[in-house]
Amino acid sequence: MSAEAHAHGHADGHGHHGHGHHDEGFIKKYLWSTDHKMIGFQYMFTGMAMALLGGFTVYAFRMQLAFPGISVPGYGRVTATDYNALVTTHGSVMIFWVAMPVLIAALGNYLIPLMIGCDDMVFPRLNRLSYQIFLISAIVLIASFYVDGGAFGGAWTSYPPLSAKAEFSLTPKGSTLWLLAVALEFVAFLLGGINFVTTVMNSRAPGMKMFDVPIVVWMIIIASILFMASVGPLVAGAVMLLFDQQLGTGFFDPAKGGDPVLWQHLFWFFGHPEVYVVLLPAMGIVAEIITVFSRKKLFAYKTVLYTAIGTGVLSFFVWAHHQFIAGIDPRMANIFSVTTLLISIPVAEMCFVYIATLYGGSIRLTTPMLWALAFIGEFLLGGVTGIFLGASGADIYFHDTYFVIAHFHYTFFPIAFIAVFAAVTYWFPKMFGKHMNDTLGKMHFWGTIISFNFIFIPLFVLGARGDHRRIYDYRHFPDLMKPGMQDLRILATVALLVLLAFQVVFLANFIYSLFKGRKAEANPWNANTLEWHAPSPPPHGNFPEGLPTVHRGPYEYSHPDRQDDFWPQHLAGDARSAQS
């Protein structure tokens, strides 16, 4: 590997700085690696660390909402300034530094080369650079907490003029660092995305045709393409906003002839496809898991693929629904209301296909399967509540209330956590060569799912009763302190505490299984896709017996002509005829 040799030479060149040989090995292996699996782990662990930050911020501000004015254990009193910074950080961290890196970067990096049967990404050094930029972006974000004025508190949407002028936001440095962090993060994923698409195009195992690629790989590719096609205008907007903040230009400043709506125009052009950028990989993970654990061929593979592409295409036409009441031409709302409701069709169809896949199966309720099924069950509620917001007339009332919050948490929580837990529990044996503890896994599952619903169902009710977003103390609003409303806020917060407590079970299980887990064989789930052909964990280069050749599609479970109920993609045999 030229890249390896290069990295090694580089490390040797710096050897005289006093690091021992052992240290170099460690750095080369874990920190300066170009191996796609290691970069995937780096993304995953960074994402998990950032999830702790996101979890801590939500703990602090939910405590303030339920018990206004108390000194939150571990944080202290939450002032109005703190509250804004906390919700902003929670939103941006959970989307940009948890969902994106874990779902796309970590799983994409780890799975794509293994699932398409090659030894590494096409541009391994670009891949390493991508992670390094991502790490810097996370550090910049965290640094913004410690500068004068504190972290940015203008919400993750960062609407100017609030975000553009220090005299409005009162966080002169925090806003710039936040913007810089987001921009860097986009660059990182841009590099990653280029790598994913090129790799899948050029490095697939011999014999792997378009419809032999596992759905999760397709989904990550479509998501990467969506991301790359939509991020440009936002980066342009970010540069303009940065100029406004630091150089005194007036792109978004009405006093200088600028237009604040312009930012929303650029932001939501990216902001909405972003939802599908994280949704599609989650959908892909679920497809892999439900087929394995119901021992069924995926119902209508091509339909899933086409609905994913259709979702991607439509996602470029729905974004202005975030601006219904934001001062755009009201006639535009009509068009976007139509497109928004239309996008429910491919997404609903994907859910129908997954439900249909269960029909006639032999369903094993293992921990990953429970997570995957929970994803479908919970995501359905997130999806249908979106209809209320897409219907322009109803959105007049629901816009910027807790109903919106509850709605998108019913989509994002399944995406960023339920699907990720499904993926981690499913691929853990492959990643680390050990089995996770099943009892702890099931305990974690039930604790998380039940408390999750107890957080957000109350928020639907609160939103319908008029609670608006980003308010640190509802005692200022007499109509929002009617009997029962504070009880619902307390219920949601208590459920959140339970949910956070159950994550300790997961972390304990993860660490325990990493060291003490039962050893896993190469293919513990009897799955078909190529990554299970590699040893667990796969060595550098992935397939020591040589790169596999693909003979059939990825979902040939319970084939009538076969004794076994699975038929791995790499096994030779006359299967092409059986496939069609």
Partner: protein, 233 residues
């Protein structure tokens, strides 16, 4: 459903509530049906020793109809919701019935200033009544509002009217409402506007025509400079 929790105090709030209920019924039915089928399939097809799963590719039109029919149903119900939603939207946001009176709503960090036209019913005259954080209107009269912002984005939201509109600095945004009941209710700012976003509550006071006239008379003494009738606190 909603008026049980939150008063319905404008001519269009009932329309919005009905739309929400219609969506809730349609969506709720399909949601429950999907969950029912989903959980039913999981329970019915739990793994049993010696029973092999069926081999269904799902590419055959006969099999595909199991997803195609729900798909058509989704489309039909989507169209129904779209038509209803756009009718309401058109009524609330696109058409403006002729105004009996116009008020000016000025948002700034972090307070509302409401400019009432006073006894002559016209803005920008000497008897305008400017009040911080209190909007005085009367029942059964059509109001237009002119929404302005002095600094950042704000959003003028009156939950009992089911009304919400962002304020944008540099622009004058117009809208309307017609109160149908008397009382005092919250006015919220629903767009994050900085540190004081959470302490930007105002009240809307809807009076009978007689009491409103009294309030106007009481506040136009002198009739020269606009005066401040005090905030909520």
């Amino acid at each position: 459903m909603l008026e049980h929790y939150l008063e319905s105090a404008s001519t269009f709030s009932g329309d919005i509530d009905n739309l929400i209920i219609m969506v809730a019924v349609i969506v709720g039915f399909w949601f429950l049906l999907a969950e029912f089928v989903f959980i039913g399939l999981i329970l019915k097809f739990k793994a049993q020793p010696g029973v092999k799963a069926k081999y269904v590719a799902g590419e055959d039109p006969k099999e595909k109809r199991w997803v195609a029919w729900p798909h058509y149903a989704t489309l039909i119900f989507d169209v129904m919701i779209i038509v209803a939603a756009i009718r309401v939207w058109h009524h609330v946001k696109q058409e403006m019935p002729p105004a009996d009176e116009t008020v000016r709503v000025i948002a700034q960090q972090w307070a509302w200033t409401f400019v009432h036209p006073g006894a002559d019913g016209k803005l920008d005259t000497a008897d305008d009544i400017s009040v911080v954080d209190e909007l005085h209107v009367q029942k059964d009269k059509t109001y237009h509002f002119e929404l302005l912002s002095r600094d950042v984005l704000h959003s003028f939201s009156v939950p009992v009217f089911r009304l919400k509109q962002d304020a944008i600095p540099g622009r004058v945004i117009k809208g309307w409402f017609k109160p149908t009941m008397t009382g005092q209710f919250d006015v919220q700012c629903t767009e994050i506007c900085g540190i004081g976003h959470g302490i930007m509550p105002a009240r809307i006071i809807i009076d009978t025509p007689e009491r409103h006239a009294q309030w106007v008379a009481a506040n136009t003494t002198g009739g020269a400079a606009p005066q401040n009738a005090g905030g909520t606190k």
